[in-house]
């Protein structure tokens, strides 16, 4: 479904929505430098200072490569997976460092701007997946205030920007699949998208099966064409990745690894598990099991997660199938690499469901309000219903937002529980 074009009267509305979104992202980020960034609150021994401002020790991986982008010396350090998987973000941060003279604020700007763009993409993704404007706006509100994005701000390992590429990638994928009529261009576009996702984080692995679902619903192409487009895109991605790696190797950035493999390759993790299995029974723990599902529920917050699932039941078939596939890959990824952000990989779709559920509650409240005689209110039942729908929907979404942002008011229980899924959690 192509996103409907906005009439001129809605241009102001779009601007206002985007400006509000940017304001919200900035407020959420800046408030946390006052009340306590999540990482620094959870793990003070991992906190360092850069230019007098708080960062995590992992920022070292990226800061050491500023001279690679901005210095004239010969290559001193290799670019391993931890760097190439965030190559675009690192390039942007280095470029801004040259402009501003401040590495701290440049990294922060990249995180904030891509976080905001992720929110914009989430809104348009939700609209394309068939939700109403109200539900999409509420889902976007939940998306930008979600723990996966807030939790990594001020770490300066570019994770806030990394995780925002999920809505960006999903939106770009659906936009390409729905709008591009030419098979060759579509294959090229999807291949490029998968490659760009692999150099801005690692969500290409989730998008590969999701693209198959999205293409399956495009009846303008024959089934064999759809399969060809999908396979062609995957092959293009693999070829582009090999060329990229080859160029880095030739230019001196491949052989000297600092810190080696500080991040795990998904394919290697899966292969290691499979090789370690001595029989079929050893493969049982690889299946999505209860503890992973519980972890997923906890890192979203149980009420937010249940609302998201309930709302997803109201979505159309295509959206449900996309969410199902993305969630299945997420569960498998969490089994291989247990981290809160891995468990939340399908977050735009869960928040889409939550937005729809909030709107449904608003509509239900409006229905009830029409049945109840309300004295002293001289408005038409229709207008009253619309007001009640918006108010109740926004209230529900705001309540869900508050549940995962209570750290701003000094209640750090959710923050600590969220981070405890990353290596237990230090006691101090």
């Amino acid at each position: 479904m192509r996103e409907p074009s906005a009439p001129p009267s809605q241009v102001t509305c779009t601007f206002t929505l985007h400006a509000a979104l940017f304001g919200l992202v900035c407020v959420l980020a800046l408030l946390r430098i006052l009340t306590g960034p999540w990482y620094h609150t959870y793990n003070p021994p991992g906190a360092n200072l850069l230019e007098g401002w708080p960062v995590s020790w992992e920022s070292e991986y990226y800061l050491i490569h500023l001279p690679s982008f901005l210095g004239d010396g010969p290559p001193a350090l290799g670019l391993s997976l931890v760097h190439t998987r965030t190559f675009i973000n690192l390039y942007l941060a280095s470029m801004l460092t040259a402009w501003t003279g401040s590495a701290f604020w440049s990294f922060a700007a990249v995180d904030v701007v891509i976080w905001f763009l992720g929110g914009v993409a989430a809104f348009h993704l939700m609209r394309r997946l068939g939700t109403s404007s109200v539900a999409a706006a509420l889902g976007t509100l939940l998306c930008v205030s979600s723990p996966i994005l807030s939790s990594n701000m001020w770490r300066h390992d570019l994770h806030a920007a990394n995780f925002s590429t999920m809505p960006l990638g999903l939106w770009a994928g659906i936009a390409l699949v729905e709008d591009e009529r030419n098979r060759g261009k579509l294959t090229l576009g999807l291949g490029a998208l998968l490659f760009l996702l692999s150099v801005s984080y690692q969500y290409q692995w989730i998008l590969v099966p999701v693209l198959a679902v999205l293409l399956a619903f495009q009846t303008r192409f024959a089934p064999t064409s759809r399969a060809g487009i999908w396979a062609g895109a995957v092959v293009l991605y693999l070829v582009a990745s090999a060329i990229f790696r080859g160029i880095l190797d030739i230019s001196g950035y491949g052989s000297m690894l600092l810190g080696g493999e500080v991040v795990s390759r998904p394919s290697q993790l899966a292969l290691d598990r499979l090789r370690a299995a001595r029989g079929p029974l050893d493969l049982v723990p690889l299946l999505p099991v209860v503890h992973v599902s519980l972890e997923t529920m906890q890192v979203y917050h149980p009420l937010v997660f249940i609302t998201g699932i309930a709302g997803m039941l109201l979505a159309n078939w295509r959206t449900r199938l996309v969410a199902l596939v993305a969630s299945a890959v997420t569960l498998a990824s969490t089994l291989l690499y247990s981290a809160p952000w891995t468990a939340m990989s399908a977050f735009p779709l869960v928040y889409l469901g939550a937005g729809m559920a909030c709107e449904a509650l608003g509509l239900a409240a409006a229905h009830v309000s029409r049945l109840l005689p309300i004295p002293y209110v001289r408005v038409s039942p229709f207008r009253l219903g619309a007001v009640v729908t918006v108010c109740v929907s926004v209230l529900c979404a705001a309540m869900l937002c508050v549940l995962t942002n209570l750290d701003l008011a000094g209640d750090t229980r959710f923050l600590m529980r969220f981070w405890s899924y990353f290596g237990g959690g230090p006691l101090f």
Partner: protein, 315 residues
């Protein structure tokens, strides 16, 4: 050939000058302000700042123009071929951009490759996104912004990465704390949800830097003296609690003294207390007269709310 590269008309030149004028004024104002500052009266620095701010001003105005074009309703082409108008301009801008970036970085081939790769990835992403919503013209303007942003750093040489530190004396987030006199005691309380299991525990306090002086930190845990803490090269101080001391405990009260007063012996403290098991009152200090909640930044000579940075873990 002449037709392909025809000179701009008077109206176009006038329009270009009028467009550039405000940015030039911004640059001049910034340069004048720089000259007026007593700290940076160097004319070449003022000129550099003026040029940079003039370009920044242009980038901001172009970015706003592109944003407005993105927010406009999508309209179909009015005439055949109009949909492709601007495609050539975009390709020329991107091509020329890549050439000037490459030419500027020929002195450093490795850097040249990384910058061209980054430039290509950002340009493709930005141009595709803008083009599909606002057309080739807007896409060309967005590409010109990327070219200018990417070209500017090429004249700089940034040889070393920025330095990170654990603490700074007057920092509001992470500072260090020590023992200003012999009777000074630092105390930290850890409260557990469940009794400590049947094994020993390890307590680590994070030092602010390497320490190789004569002083030792003496630890007392739950009213039991455990002697001097082990010092690591990193400056961390560690004490191991035997299983019989740790087992079943729901609270650890750790008190730290020094064998001799040494201003160089210091521990790290942090502002945010939300993760501490005992909350904002977890850390305290004794100044020889009475106990105070929080920490004491003796570099500034003032108390600071916060916690000592430490860890309790199993042996």
């Amino acid at each position: 050939m002449i037709g392909a590269f025809s000179l701009p008309g008077r109206a176009e030149v006038r329009s270009a000058v009028a467009g550039a004028l405000p940015h030039g004024i911004v640059g001049l104002v910034v340069a004048q302000l720089h000259l007026a500052l007593p700290s940076s009266a160097e004319p070449h620095l003022a000129l550099a700042a003026g040029v940079k701010w003039a370009v920044l001003s242009w980038i901001v105005s172009e970015a706003l123009a592109v944003a407005i074009m993105l927010a406009r309703p999508v309209l179909g082409p009015k005439r055949p071929g109009e949909a492709d108008a601007g495609r050539g301009t975009l390709l020329r801008i991107v091509g020329v951009g890549a050439i000037i970036i490459a030419a500027a970085l020929l002195r450093s081939p490795g850097r040249l490759v990384l910058n061209l790769l980054g430039f290509a990835m950002v340009t493709v992403t930005v141009c595709w996104t803008v083009q599909r919503r606002a057309g080739w013209g807007a896409s060309a303007r967005a590409a010109s912004i990327v070219v200018v942003l990417a070209f500017f750093p090429t004249h700089l040489d940034y040889p070393t990465p920025p330095l990170k530190v654990r603490v700074l004396p007057d920092n509001p987030f992470n500072w260090s704390t020590g023992w200003p006199s012999g009777e000074w005691v630092l105390r930290h309380r850890v409260e557990l949800d469940a009794p400590w299991p049947e094994k020993g525990a390890s307590i680590t306090f994070i030092g602010d830097r390497e320490y190789i002086g004569p002083a030792a930190i003496l630890a007392r845990v739950n009213e039991r003296d455990l002697g001097p803490m082990r010092r690591e090269v990193s400056g961390h101080a560690i004490i191991e609690l035997p299983a019989d001391v740790a087992r079943g405990q729901r609270m650890f009260v750790i008190e730290l003294r020094t064998s001799i007063s040494d201003p160089a012996l210091r521990l790290t403290a942090q502002r945010w207390t939300g993760g501490a098991t005992a909350g904002s009152g977890a850390s305290s200090y004794f100044d020889g007269e009475r106990w105070h909640t929080g920490t004491f930044n003796d570099a500034l000579g003032s108390p600071k709310p916060g916690v000592y940075v430490m860890l309790l873990g199993p042996l």
